[in-house]
Amino acid sequence: MSRLASTGLAFFVFSAMVAALYAVFLYAPTEGQMGLVQRIFYFHVSSAICSLVAFSLVFLASIQYLRRREERWDRLAVASAELGVIFALIVLITGPLWARPIWGVFWRWEPRLTFMLITFLMYVAYLMVRAYAAGSVEQTRRFAAVLGIVAFVNVPLVHFSVNLWSADQQLHPQKVELAPEMVVARYVSLVAVGSLFLFLLKRRMELELASQTLNRIRQELDGERGDDGP
């Protein structure tokens, strides 16, 4: 069942990607001022949305984990955090690529760039806590959940403060007027990237479940081998 769903979803992601490539590169017109490079926009924005959705999922899953102590919430949290970091990284890579020809530089301490960078770093720290924990598995999960909550509360504060900190550096357009074909391309690519996100999320959670099960079997075997007696 789950396998069938995975295959179905994979097929959907593939078709959506093909459709998105068509929409982005062939269907949508080339933007007048920026030229070809503007087409990176479709993936840039979709990835940004996905990463923020992922971090919200980390937040919700962390709260649920602390309340219910069920492993599935922890699986959701870890999978979302990793994907959020990856999609944020995509944003941070595509952004400068787009910025170089338009702004003349790869990087500016511009509010949205700074916001994405700080948020990205907070969730890198989240993954570090998980990777380098010393205590029991349960403790690691609790620590991660606490961080997942605290970091997410910080997200709006980061947003607010970098916006005021470098308001004069603001280069992202606040409102975008898009040609109708561009709007279509935008939504098609959002569906494509979004479904890719969901597909990866599902697979990552399955992987986590498998590794948890493996650990359990290992521990049970260790237990049977007998660890008592001097």
Binding site: A125, V129, Y132, S161
Partner: protein, 231 residues
């Protein structure tokens, strides 16, 4: 609740008085970092007023991390944390006591190094000593609120001291932005040419942000500290 906080805080101060493991190194550290900045940027001259507040806060944050790492060091030595958890004292009291302790240490370090900082960098807080102290206190409480929570987590990690900066720094950036801004405003208004009110109006916004930040994260930490300590 208050009794427990006072007892633990008093104990920590006494331990610090005996061992002097935190304050001394922190103060020296602040000086060393200020000198690092001095040599890295060849300070002196007109750039000073521009980057002075940034240098000051960078030094405080790094020295602060140094001190924060020590928050639970004494408790781990002989499993003393168990004794605190056994006692009829709530975990929130433990957080508050540790947080206030960190705040106090940070403040002492800030106040001790401030005169020298002003001396080295030819700055004078002048009339604005009160706003400056308010900014320093609030900035320190932002660092202490987040730092104390994370110190409890990092003391239980394989990276130990190294994990804390990784956790605290990205979290603290918003507060850092405002603390630097507020400090810059204070020094701006303290130049001999400017005269003005007791409290520069432009200071209200950054100061209230720092206040909100520290309240938000102290509250959140109080709610979550149980989860960090539980075995």
């Amino acid at each position: 609740m208050i009794k427990g906080v006072v007892a633990i805080l008093w104990k920590d101060l006494r331990v610090e008085w005996r061992s002097r493991e935190r304050l001394g190194p922190m103060v020296v550290f602040v000086f060393l970092i200020i000198l690092v900045f001095n040599f890295s940027f060849e300070l002196g001259g007109s750039a000073l007023h521009e980057i002075g507040p940034g240098v000051l806060w960078s030094a405080f944050v790094f020295a602060g991390l140094f001190g924060l790492n020590h928050t639970f060091a004494t408790e781990l030595d002989n499993n003393c944390l168990d004794a605190l958890m056994l006692a009829p004292v709530s975990h929130s009291s433990l957080y508050l006591a540790k947080m206030l302790g960190n705040l106090l240490f940070l403040l002492v370090v800030e106040l001790l190094s401030l005169p020298f900082f002003c001396l080295f960098f030819n700055l004078s807080p002048g009339l604005y000593l009160v706003p400056l102290v308010a900014v320093l206190t609030l900035g320190a409480s932002c660092l202490a609120s987040v730092g104390t929570l994370f110190a409890a987590m990092s003391s239980n990690s394989r990276l130990r001291e190294f994990l804390l900066p990784l956790l605290v720094l990205p979290m603290i950036y918003p507060a850092l932005i405002w603390a630097v801004k507020a400090t810059a405003i204070v020094f701006e208004h303290s130049r001999p040419s400017t005269t003005g009110a007791f409290w520069p109006g432009s200071l209200t916004e950054p100061v209230s942000f720092l206040l909100v930040y520290s309240i938000v994260f102290t509250t959140l930490a109080l709610m979550l500290f149980d989860q960090v300590l539980e075995d």
